[in-house]
């Protein structure tokens, strides 16, 4: 951290000012005498924690605000990683040219994005700065050399992505070396223009040169799947060639179709899927080789192109040795008769159809052995060995010694003496003996006997056999149940020989009739000449040299031409039986053509070190930056960053925070509650429960002649009846939704209110027809005035079908609670109450004697207006009438039930004067 104006930091203690002010304000508190603190203490105890927290937050916000302002005034700048220096900048640009940078983010190739970011960076350099550009993949391609920005730009423009892996550590080490050798006193920076993937950092990167800022690019993680290799599958053979490809996936599981191309033809297809971070293998069947004598295949397997299309195909070139033929020598003229060995063996080797033993065979009488060209055969099988023809034993020994295989099966006509003519066999055959127990035991496990575990060897019986005496160094593979050796194999010179202890005649063994016969035959042949001796696939990595060597048996040409994947022909000279193509520059098939043979090499990308894994490095040894922000990051790292803007932003934030906190919380809460209520206004406001609420309609100017009267009335109501009352009256207008939750509505007036609008009429009609009770009172208490005329004009508009009629003297309203003899009020002018009958009840009651006026009291609690002409008894009657009206609105015609009549009559009689 550096400060442009460090003197301002001396003002930093001022940031503690709010704390001081807070403490002083506490000390300066006024002493106020107050009557009783009980309530205040309770309030304070409830509000204290919140208030204290708010106080603390406010103080903290103010302190931070002040501190931020003071710090901003000091013009701070974060120091860049690059050591301070005035003489200029030494910048090393390392451009990653590995094949993984060919990956695309959408349409942009990462290599191009990184390179352009580097070129933009170069434009920001000052004239005195020096740049060294290095392109690297597995190593730095050329030594770093210092130059100016223009040369560096040209170098970047000329760079192309390669086909090899990444080793960022090596490049960083080179950059460190270059910077360490550079003169001191200059700023230093290294920028790695790569894809920042984990695979580039398999090796630990060296620490950066002293005072050097290291910045690297970062790209988003990309899931990728790739084909890592193709080659012969383990079960591939010349007869059934199969190519195995490995599909690897990183970031996400992958599933892809596979296409097999041999030459220019699409020769097959398949599919593969691999879980994330793992590899799967799939095998594809190859077509038959064009040249069966030297079967070889070259082609490619392609998967669906992914984020990195280049690694989604893999080339292969493989060859098999042609399957060795078998020469079966027999001596018995009856060899092919049923039950004889030839009968079984002919079936085994095909009898004109597909061979079951995996190899083709020729049959020849042992006596005519010298007619055969033994060099054509891989294995010679003595199918029923007896007394050998002259020279046969020596010829076979020589055949085996050259690397051939011999399978030796004694014949029924053989005997110990005759068979002693083959002393080079791995086992000496003794006398023929009877075997009592059926069944065989596998002594050794090997590739030849793989899969024998599934077979039931106890059903294979050997009734007679020659005792075998294995020679030293030979291996017993199979024995009888009691341990006598049955199958012995061993080396003879460069080749191998196998001895089976019993003739294949059905009289001696049932082997030929059992399913075990075929695996047995395959094992014998495999033990004699292993079929797995196949040529290695011809594979190279891109970038490596390709070497074509000629063995001693082959004639090496002087010159050879190589056809590259792009179709170019290159002529190479052969020296020392070797031709070397210095570099396989691109992946593909390289065909070496001489006059005799064509050999194809497959050059593939080397993904063994995870180059195709595009997941970004978790903790790269550099400061990571997006492509867009590289310049800013570079400038921040090298030249530092001005922090005052941040501090000013912080100050503004604190200011807003402080303002929010200083707002009266109550206001905010009220606002919140108001918003909550606004969403469902009618429900919340009209709640009245089971209490009687005196509701007064606000209509006209004279709607409220006696404001205190309703309170007195409801208090008395609660006192003398069991009606639960709400102490406060409710005043509503006609548009108030609470109208419909107020079953009792009182309307008073002395002068006419304005005409009712249509919507008000409609609401009143809804209210009355919905069960509401409306008490209208002309408070004038004199002759009919404007209010009376207004009501008689408006009522027919509200309820068109009904009219105001005087209530009969025996109406239930006179006995809902008190027994009354007639109407009463503050004045006695009118003979009866009037009402509108609606649905069997009085829905609108109209009184003109100012009953509520009898309730009104002055400030001292004395009656406000005198009752004329009856005085106080009349007041009492008026009060009783009001109560009856309220009870009528609550109970309706309940008191007119016959059950009350007797009591009412009694009371009337008793009270009669």
């Amino acid at each position: 951290m550096r400060f442009g104006f460090p003197a301002a930091l001396w003002a930093l203690p001022l940031a503690a000012l709010p704390v001081v002010i807070h403490l002083m304000s506490r000390r300066a508190a006024r002493r106020v005498p107050f009557s009783d603190l009980t309530l205040l203490k309770a309030v304070d105890a409830r509000a204290r924690p919140k208030a204290r927290l708010r106080e603390l937050l406010l103080m903290a916000a103010r302190c931070v605000l002040l501190a931020a302002l003071i710090l901003a005034a000091a013009a701070p700048a974060r120091r860049g990683d690059a050591a301070a220096g005035a003489a200029g900048l030494d910048l090393v640009l390392l451009l990653d040219a590995s094949y993984s940078t060919r990956a695309r983010d959408g349409v942009t190739v990462r290599f191009d994005a990184a390179r352009e970011a580097g070129r933009r960076l170069l434009k920001r350099l000052a004239p005195g700065d020096r740049v060294a550009v290095g392109t690297f993949d597995e190593a730095l391609k050329a030594p770093l050399a210092w130059g100016d920005a223009r040369a560096a730009d040209a170098a970047l423009a000329a760079a192309r992505p390669g086909w090899r892996g990444t080793n960022a550590a090596a490049a960083l080490a080179a950059a460190r070396k270059a910077l360490e050798e550079a003169p001191r006193g200059r700023k230093r920076a290294v920028v790695v223009l790569g894809d920042g993937a984990e695979h580039g950092l398999r090796e630990k990167a060296p620490a950066p040169a002293e005072g050097a800022a290291v910045i690297g690019l970062r790209f988003p993680a990309l899931a990728n799947a790739w084909l890592s290799s193709a080659g012969p599958s383990p079960d591939s053979s010349a007869r059934a060639p199969r190519v195995e490809v490995r599909l690897a996936a990183a970031g996400a599981p992958a599933s892809t179709p596979l296409d097999l191309w041999v030459g220019d033809r699409r020769a097959g297809s398949g599919s593969a899927s691999a879980p994330a971070g793992a590899e799967s293998r799939s095998a594809l069947a190859l077509p038959a080789a064009e040249d069966s004598a030297a079967p070889s295949w070259a082609g490619r397997v392609a998967a669906r192109p992914g984020a990195l299309a280049e690694d989604d195909q893999v080339y292969f070139s493989m060859a098999h040795r042609p399957s060795p033929r078998v020469l079966v020598l027999y001596s018995d003229p009856q060899f092919f008769r049923a039950g004889k060995p030839g009968w079984f063996l002919r079936e085994l080797f095909g009898g004109g159809r597909e061979t079951l033993a995996g190899r083709d065979a020729d049959f020849l009488e042992a006596a005519r052995w010298n007619e055969a060209d033994l060099t054509k055969y891989g294995t010679v099988m003595m199918a029923d060995a007896a007394r050998p023809a002259p020279g046969l034993s020596a010829a076979l020994e020589a055949f085996a010694g050259r690397g051939g295989g011999v399978v030796f099966i004694p014949g029924v006509r053989g005997n110990e003496a005759d068979l002693a003519a083959f002393p080079w066999l791995p086992a000496r055959l003794g006398t023929a003996v009877e075997v009592s127990a059926p069944g065989l035991k596998v002594i050794r496990e090997g590739e030849a006997t793989s899969g024998w575990g599934d077979l039931d060897l106890s059903k294979v019986s050997v009734r007679r056999m020659f005792l075998l005496e294995p020679a030293p160094g030979s291996e017993v593979w199979v024995s009888g149940v009691s341990g006598e050796a049955v199958l012995v194999a061993g080396s003879v010179g460069r080749g191998r020989a196998v001895v089976w202890a019993t003739p294949l005649d059905a009289a001696w063994t049932n082997l030929g009739l059992k399913p075990f016969f075929i695996p047995w035959a395959r094992a014998c042949l495999a033990l004699s000449v292993p079929d797995s001796a196949r040529d290695a696939a011809r594979k190279v990595k891109v970038g490596d040299p390709i070497i074509r060597e000629w063995s001693r048996g082959e004639a090496a040409p002087d010159r050879i031409s190589v056809i590259s994947p792009d179709g170019r022909r290159t002529s190479l000279s052969v020296s020392g039986r070797r031709a070397v193509l210095p570099e396989a520059s691109v992946p593909g098939l390289y065909t070496f053509v001489d006059g005799v043979r064509t050999v194809t090499f497959a050059a593939n990308l080397d993904s063994s070190r995870g180059e195709s894994d595009l997941l970004p490095a978790s903790s790269p040894p550099w400061r990571s930056s997006d492509v867009e922000n590289l310049e800013n990051e570079f400038l921040d790292s090298v030249y530092g960053k001005d922090l005052s803007a941040w501090l000013l932003g912080l100050a503004v934030l604190m200011l807003v925070f402080e303002m929010l906190l200083s707002l009266p919380l109550r206001g905010a809460t009220a606002l919140f509650i108001f918003i909550c209520l606004a969403s469902f206004p009618s429900r919340a406001l009209a709640q009245q429960g089971d209490r009687f609420v005196w509701t007064q309609l606000q209509l006209g100017d004279t709607w409220d002649p006696y404001p205190d009267a309703p309170d007195l009335l409801t208090a008395w109501l609660g006192e003398v009846t069991s009606v639960r009352t709400s102490p406060a009256r409710r005043t509503i207008s006609l548009s108030d939704p609470a109208l419909f939750s107020s079953p009792f509505v009182y309307l008073a007036g002395t002068s006419a209110p304005p005409e009712l609008r249509d919507d008000e009429l409609r609401r009143l009609r809804q209210f009355i027809s919905g069960g509401g009770f409306l008490w209208v009172e002309d408070s004038g208490g004199g002759p009919p005035g404007s209010f009376d005329r207004w009501l008689r004009r408006e009522l027919p508009r509200i309820l068109p079908d009904s009219s105001l009629k005087p209530l009969p003297p025996d109406h239930v309203i006179y006995r809902t609670f008190f027994l009354l003899r007639g109407p009463a009020g503050r004045v006695r002018v009118h003979g009866s109450l009037e009402g509108v009958d609606w649905g069997g009840r009085v829905a609108v009651l109209y009184t003109r004697d100012d009953a509520l006026g009898a309730w009104a009291k002055d400030a001292l609690g004395k009656p406000l207006r005198a009752c004329v002409p009856g005085g106080e008894p009349q007041r009492e009657l008026a009060r009783r009438l009001t109560l009856n009206v309220v009870m009528y609105s609550l109970t309706g015609s309940y008191k007119s039930d016959a059950v009350h009549q007797a009591a009412i009559l009694d009371k009337l009689k008793a009270a009669a004067p």
Binding site: S25, R26, A28, A29, R30, R31, V32, P33, F34, S35, D36, L37, T38, L39, L40, K41, A42, V43, D44, R46, A47, A51, P664, R666, A715, G718, E719, P727, K857, D858, A859, L860, G861, K862
Partner: protein
């Protein structure tokens, strides 16, 4: 008269102290109807004569008609004792700027009540309660009692820390007889306790009226800025930011006022609030006419 001026007397003229229902209060003959039989002009009933009845109460006219002795019974009319329970705790000494103290207001109301009671022939007595309750003046009728009452009020002074509920209970202990009780207090303190104590008074079958004396400051809390509130009843001063505490205090005060009004109303007791500003006579009028 120190605590009752003619102006107030003029305003209060026409008010009276009437028990809600004819109670079984016994006392000297007065103007209040009683459930007991006694001597007045109000005929109650005829009752067959039984041994021990005074011969002068026999209705001789009825005997002449029916040839049997019947006794004429009359309703008793009693005078009742009216006790003023005056809160003399420390908090009553509070006086807002330029206003009388709550205690003075209470004294005026008490004097008015006493005057009204004595004027209608009833007895008036005074119990003050602060730290301890004291029967300052035993109930007596007669014009001379008013002067004594005035002196007793002058002697009362507000001081000390008071547990409101306990103080009212203690004052109730001091009441020598059943009667009408006018409780004059600021009711500042434990709401539930105070209400319980008032209900206890009712349970002793006193006729209870409650007059609450308040200063507007207590309702409005008109202070600003950091304040060190010192209670008149002692205790640790309380530091509050008045502006912040005011809304919550006002709400709590309103809740308390509602609680008193609601609870006393439900209990069927007369209740009124008198403030040190304005006409306390109006509040007293409301109290007595309810």
């Amino acid at each position: 008269m120190r605590w009752l001026d003619p102006e107030s007397q003029a305003r209060l003229k026409g008010l009276g102290l009437f028990p809600r229902r004819a109670s079984g209060l016994s006392g000297a003959p007065g103007k209040h109807r009683s459930l007991a039989r006694g001597h007045s002009r109000d005929f109650a009933q005829h009752r067959p004569y039984s041994y021990g009845d005074e011969s002068r109460s026999i209705d001789w006219k009825a005997y002449a008609r029916l040839d049997r002795f019947y006794v004429r019974e009359f309703r008793s009319e009693d005078r009742i004792p009216v006790f003023v329970l005056l809160d003399a705790s420390g908090s009553m000494a509070y006086a807002g700027a330029g206003r009388q103290s709550k205690l003075d207001l209470g004294r005026r109301a008490a004097a008015a009540v006493a005057w009204l009671a004595l004027a209608q022939g009833d007895e008036a007595g005074l119990v003050t309660f602060g730290t301890e309750a004291r029967l300052a003046l035993p109930p007596r009728a007669g014009a001379a009692q008013l002067g004594a009452f005035d002196e007793a009020l002058t002697l009362a002074s507000a001081q000390g820390e008071t547990d409101l509920a306990r103080a009212i209970e203690a004052a109730a202990e001091e009441l020598p007889r059943r009667g009408m009780v006018v409780l004059i207090s600021d009711l500042m303190g434990d709401t539930a306790g105070a209400l319980k104590a008032v209900r206890a008074l009712v349970a002793r079958r006193h006729e209870v009226l409650v007059l609450r004396t308040l200063d507007p400051d207590e309702r409005e809390f008109p202070y600003e800025g950091p304040c060190l509130m010192e209670g008149l009843e002692g205790g640790e001063p309380l530091f509050v930011d008045a502006l912040e505490a005011a809304p919550a205090y006002r709400a709590a005060f309103a809740r308390q006022a509602d609680a008193y009004a609601g609870a006393l109303r439900r209990a069927g007791l007369a209740y009124a609030v008198a403030e040190t500003t304005g006409h306390w006579e109006a509040a007293l009028g409301r109290l007595l006419t309810r």
